[in-house]
Amino acid sequence: MTRRTIVALALVAALGPLLFAGPAGAQWPGVTPTEIKIGNTNPYSGPASAYGTIGKALTAYFKKVNDEGGINGRKINFVTLDDGYSPPKTVEMVRRLVEQDQVAFVFQTLGTPTNSAIHKYLNEQKVPHLFVATGATKWGDPRNFPWTMGWQPTYQTEGHIYAQYVLKNVPNPKIGILYQNDDYGKDYVKGLKDGLGEAGRKLIVLEQSYEVTDPTIDSQIVNLKNSGANVFYNVTIPKFAVQAIKKSHDIGWKPLHLLNNVSASVDVVLKPAGLEASRDLITALYLKDPTDPQWKNDQGMKDWLAFMQKYYPEGNTKDAFNVYAYTVAQGLVHVLKQCGNDLSRENVMRQAANIKNLSLPLLLPGIKVNTGPTDFYPIEQEQLARFDGERWALFGEVHDAGKK
């Protein structure tokens, strides 16, 4: 062998892997011909660890997708890290995902403060920040934050729907409000007030708040009753929703009771509060409640139960968060399928903003996912339901906040 051949061979050996790596894959971060790497943070520990089940259910769902062959031949590598619901930790973990693990995009990061901490960073880095798990309104702002997109109906949307219902159906409404003193509670109240309009705002006779650390809200309920309110807008998380339903029943207060969707679970809230006390509650729904008997024979619910048994047996089949996770994971799979073989970050974002009338098995009948280049709110429809003592009876038409 001449020296030249040796040099040539060495060159081929050195450059070979580069030449034969194939055209697809190498050009996009987090994507190879056999894999898509997706990043996520969830509070597996800390004060909000009840949400951790969402991350576990997502992981389980992607395992199911991979077992069934992946998406266009690519397996999903879902890297989910614990941030303990602490914004500085979220920043560190998301930077790790983007800069070190080189994920293709970030999906379903959970929490309003935690997502606020990474909002600017991900948009500067031009990394898709898809379907964030929070009901705040600020995630659908494509003009200023073209790389961030929400998922669920916002709390303000829901408040809006209740306002319309009250204005249309209650003669002489006098509204009493109980809300949690944080961004979640205030968003709900803002939605209601915006829906009532300038004139309608006078209909609110009393606003009471509580801190998430309070032991009870009994005195607030008594105050609301004494205010003479005939509409009760109940913006509380499950623990306090149970107390509120019980207490108002016990003291014989019978207003039109609007219960926020956050606490609409039959098993977690209404049964502990008492099914009789819960009769005639009104809420707005977009997902099927796994504890509501009306979905017992629903095909989507049966598939979900089979999935839970096979891939997430330790998960709670009464927990609506697992329905939520299953549905949003299906939404993402739809987007990735729509991307075809172009998994560049630009195209992932373009396809996420190009969902047309997608129905998913655990969304209520008639509710569809829709996005567009200027519409970054995927689910904007909800339907009102009245509790008949056993199940949520849907009534009226599907409200669509997207249609102005």
Binding site: P87, P88, A117
Partner: protein, 318 residues
Amino acid sequence: MSRGQGWRRAIVLAAIAIACALPFLLSNFRLFQFTQVFIYAIALLGLNILTGFNGQISLGHGAFYALGAYTTAIMIDRWSVPYGWTIPVAGLLCLTAGFLFGIPALRLEGLYLALATFALALAVPQILKYFEHWTGGSQGIVLSKPGAPLGLTLSPDQWLYFVTLGVLILLFVLGANLLRGRTGRAIVAIRDNPIAAQAMGVNGALYKSLTFGVSAAYTGVAGALSALAIAFVAPDAFNVFLSITFLVGIVIGGLASISGAIFGGLFVQFVPNWAQEISKAAPWAIYGIFLIVFMYAMPRGIAGALRLAGARLARFRG
């Protein structure tokens, strides 16, 4: 003795040289992590001055960390003050707050003080939500990461790393001078035997309040730097767990040791991440095991263990 001091100086200089070289060797993400180590180290030195040297236990230093962070965030967000000025202001504000808190706290000893400061840590996230007009409530305040000044070709992460390193060195030199001199002896004497210290003419009340103030100032400066590094503040970042993390950091690093603050910072930053790598299902159980192993193997913290090893080595050679 002089030989030992020479060695110590050489080690410190070598550490600074390595720290200055890191920005050109590591990725921006790793630099961000080391910036956080330095920030924790400053906060830990603050707490160590109070707890390690002066013997007052605080479970509420997260509150001063939050005060420093919010001072910086509000000054930048509301009044567009250049970020460099906000750091000393945060330190001074926390010095005053700490001094004032130290006066009533003088009546409380040991565990009672721990409880009083714990109350402070519990209250802070809610107080921050109450003054929503200033603090942005639970939504927090979003900041921009400061870039390097004109003429320096450094990334924002590299620049912030150097700023933090500079503040760290300054505060550690000041701290070392304070603690190794007359004042330091008085602070330690109050811890070891308050009655004897009073008999020697040390004004216990004044020294205790001042120590509380200085300690809070260090932690406040760390908080201010963290607001810049994270570029976001929110009440959820300053819960009770942060205060407990600080206490863990000084005990693991080494009580009453200046270098211990650095080791504590490394522990606080990296061990929870390792724990998560080892087990996703029970990261805090793994963290607990790490804690127990460290305490069992190095009861005087990492700094104490290194000192012991150094002494053994010297005896072996001598």
